[in-house]
């Protein structure tokens, strides 16, 4: 029943999200539940990802980045908006057609201790998607599982071991092996390396990048760590309180940010070099992220913005193209951001 939606975007686009909203109702009362408001976790966002590329999604905790990932795989039913994956709208799919399309979309979660069932051997965990989508006989699947273990740097003999016998980095590589086992096109990685130590983090990042090149994978890489995002992403979206405030190519975003939040975020990240650290000027934002239940009027960043003017309190800035290559930002004073 899904119609192919007409799109103006290049045919190279794999995923095109349009005005996606995900509001969670807040209820009160024990027996009679009344709706008392909404948590506007994702509040109208649009972006697209080209085939074989990586979009990095950054933001602080509570900005809605995880909700976006989960909504795209349809762990949630979006409030409104379209999620066009190969021109089919995932927001409208259900049942068997959704199950079939999920073969092409896999997910990697942050915590490899929670995402591997401790009662299954790693062999059965990795091969489960292959059994579900019936890609071949049990023998073929087992051979393929052994190959997958080898590629993620684990010995094939480990196939019958249980998750508790592995370290965090090894577990995350098992999760990666499971995600690629059915040859998906698109992988949503939700903070895949945040729980790992630096030396192990590099192993997993390199593995993901090699796989991307070999298998022509497309990634949505969600992270709060701007230095990791700089390393993996081709294009970067910065989120604040449920909205994308800036979207640009990787190097342009870091060199010439057009939103004061991006600029503050970049200046807050410590750089592992004492000589650079001593010379840096920090923009320290005051206060914390406002609640997504009561989103500030006008520009949602005005309560913490060092550049805020009267107009920012009253009028919400449009998310529009700014100078530069495909550079979008939502700020009234974006041209002044990179100058100061």
């Amino acid at each position: 029943m899904v119609d192919s939606v007409e799109t103006a975007v290049a045919s190279n686009t794999l995923l095109d999200v349009r005005d996606l909203k995900m509001h969670f109702p807040l209820t009160s009362g024990i027996i009679i539940q009344r709706n008392v408001g909404y948590v506007r976790a994702v509040d109208g966002i649009s972006f697209s990802i080209e085939r074989g590329k990586t979009l990095g999604l950054v933001g602080e905790s509570g900005s809605g980045k995880t909700t976006i990932g989960r909504t795209i795989v349809r762990l949630y039913k979006p409030t409104t908006g379209q999620i066009l994956f190969e021109n089919r709208d995932l927001a409208q799919l259900g049942g068997e057609s959704l199950r079939q399309i999920r073969k092409d979309i896999q997910m990697i979660f942050q915590d490899p201790f929670a995402s591997l069932n401790p009662r299954y051997t790693i062999g059965s965990l990795i091969s489960e998607p292959m059994h579900i989508y019936k890609i071949g006989s049990a023998k073929v699947i087992r051979e393929r599982t052994e190959e997958l273990l080898n590629v993620v740097g684990l010995r094939p003999e480990y196939i019958d071991r249980y998750p508790h016998e592995f370290s965090g980095g090894q577990r995350q590589r098992i999760v990666v092996a499971r995600a690629i086992s059915i040859n998906p096109q698109f992988i949503i990685a939700d903070e895949p390396v945040s729980a790992l130590d630096v030396s192990v983090r590099a192993q997993v990042l390199n593995l993901m990048q090699r796989l991307q090149r070999q298998l022509n994978l497309t990634y949505l890489f969600v992270s709060h760590d701007l230095s990791v995002i700089r390393h993996v992403a081709d294009r970067i979206a910065v989120m604040y309180l449920g909205k994308i405030v800036e979207l640009a190519d990787r190097d342009e975003l870091y060199v010439a940010p057009k939103h004061p939040y991006t600029k503050a975020l970049l200046s807050a990240v410590p750089i592992p070099d004492p000589k650079v650290e001593k010379k840096r000027q920090r923009i320290i934002l005051s206060g914390d992220l406002p609640s997504p239940i009561n989103i500030p009027s006008g520009c949602r960043f005005h309560t913490r913005c060092p550049m805020a003017q009267t107009i920012c309190r009253e009028e919400e800035p449009a998310f529009e193209a700014k100078t530069g290559h495909d550079h979008f930002a939502a700020c009234h004073f974006s041209e002044q951001v990179s100058l100061s």
């Binding site: 602080e60 905790s61 890609i135 393929r144 190959e147 997958l148 080898n150 590629v151 740097g153 370290s167 965090g168 980095g169 090894q170 690629i180 040859n183 130590d197 630096v198 030396s199 192990v200 983090r201 590099a202 192993q203 990042l205 390199n206 990048q209 090699r210 796989l211 070999q214 298998l215 709060h224 701007l226 230095s227 990791v228 700089r230 390393h231 990787r250 190097d251 870091y254 503050a264 975020l265 970049l266 200046s267 807050a268 990240v269 410590p270 750089i271 592992p272 070099d273 004492p274 000589k275 650079v276 650290e277 001593k278 920090r282 320290i284 934002l285 005051s286 914390d288 992220l289």
Partner: protein, 358 residues
């Protein structure tokens, strides 16, 4: 009179486990002068938090066990102190900040009371004075409207604000030494910047020495005067912050610095990695603990290297037999690294063929 505020000598802490002892800290030496800021860096399980807890004598016994060594604080060995004497040190002369402020504040007490508690016990001040001082502390750590917030409970604060309260509690009695165990790991970057600036400011103002425990090399670069790199319960390298970052000598430190993705660097191919995983501390290797993951490893590494100063800089010490600046050694390490990468790439293209050959 020793010039050191804290002098840790050959500290060993073992934990009893099934089938033996976990050698969590295995012969750690370091010193800290009054007002100095040092950082202990290392990966999870390297013993950095256990070292910090042991200075406060907060290791639970059993299963923990002080298996050797001394911790001299102002020339007294903390390990010989009775529990009652230790209580005077904790929160009095040494303050501590933990990673998770929600678990470390009492949820049933107002934050003001929690700050006053330490003041009344350690400094024996009157209730009114303690109240006044608590409010001024809250103001110093940047809590808006401190007089009203005095009566608030921890759950009414955000993560960053709770960490500020923790800092106020730790600093209440003007300690000589502040131990911060991953103080910003649970916080967002923008809040992390606020908290680090605060810690830096108060240490400077009160002349407090700082032991910062972290895995984030970026935080170290901006905060510490001196860095201690730990691995598998042992000190691998120790030097001033500038020296560690510009002239690392131990293969582990070199690998650690190279494997970090940097915000100010344009992507150039792949990150360097340290392959493998840390050793099992139930049966620690008898030689160099890093040997199994080290591209520089030689036969001599089967014997434990001492933590010796490097040539020409007595303040820079490393525990490694190999001179990593020697071009011959570097060429040897590079060859081993490349062989490893080639093997990984071959395995990958094989799987790619299988997956896509449907």
């Amino acid at each position: 009179m020793s010039e050191y505020l804290l002098d840790v000598q050959d500290l060993k802490i073992y934990f009893k486990a099934k089938g033996g002892h976990v050698h969590a800290v295995d012969g750690v030496n370091f010193t800290i002068k009054p007002g100095e800021k040092i950082a202990i860096v290392g990966e999870s399980g390297c013993g950095k938090s256990v070292t910090a807890l042991s200075i406060m004598r907060l290791i639970q016994q059993p299963p923990g066990e002080y298996a050797g060594g001394n911790i001299y604080f102002e020339e007294n060995d903390l390990l010989t102190f009775s529990e009652r004497e230790m209580q005077k040190i904790r929160g009095g002369k040494i303050g501590m900040i933990f990673q998770d402020p929600l678990n470390c504040l009492n949820p049933t007490m107002t934050i003001g009371k929690q700050i006053m508690e330490g003041l009344q016990i350690h400094l024996k001040v009157s209730k009114d004075d303690a109240h006044q001082r608590a409010i001024s502390l809250l103001e110093q750590v940047g809590i808006p409207a401190p007089a009203e917030r005095f009566n608030a409970y921890p759950h009414q604060f955000s993560g960053g604000m709770r960490q500020r309260v923790m800092i106020a509690v730790a600093l209440a009695c003007n300690p000589k030494l502040l131990i911060a165990d991953e103080p910003t790991t649970a916080l967002d970057v923008t809040v992390q910047a606020q908290i680090l600036e605060l810690i830096n400011g108060v240490c400077h103002e009160f002349g407090t020495a700082l032991i910062l425990i972290t895995h984030d090399l970026g935080v170290v670069a901006g905060m510490a005067d001196r860095v201690i790199v730990m691995y598998a319960g042992e000190v691998m390298e120790e030097a001033s912050t500038d020296e560690i970052f510009s002239n690392p000598r131990h293969p582990y430190t070199i690998g650690l610095l190279a494997s970090v993705s940097r915000l100010d660097e344009v992507r150039q191919g792949e990150l360097r990695t340290i392959e493998g995983a840390p050793p099992d501390l139930l049966q620690p290797p008898t030689g160099c603990p890093f040997m199994a993951r080290c591209y520089f490893a030689r036969n001599i590494c089967r014997q434990k290297p001492p933590l010796d100063p490097i040539a020409g800089n007595a303040a820079h010490r490393k525990a490694c037999w190999v001179d990593t600046t020697d071009p011959k050694e570097r060429a040897y390490a590079d060859r081993r690294l490349q062989a490893r990468q080639a093997a990984q790439k071959a395995a990958l293209s094989e799987v790619a063929n299988i997956l896509q050959g449907e």
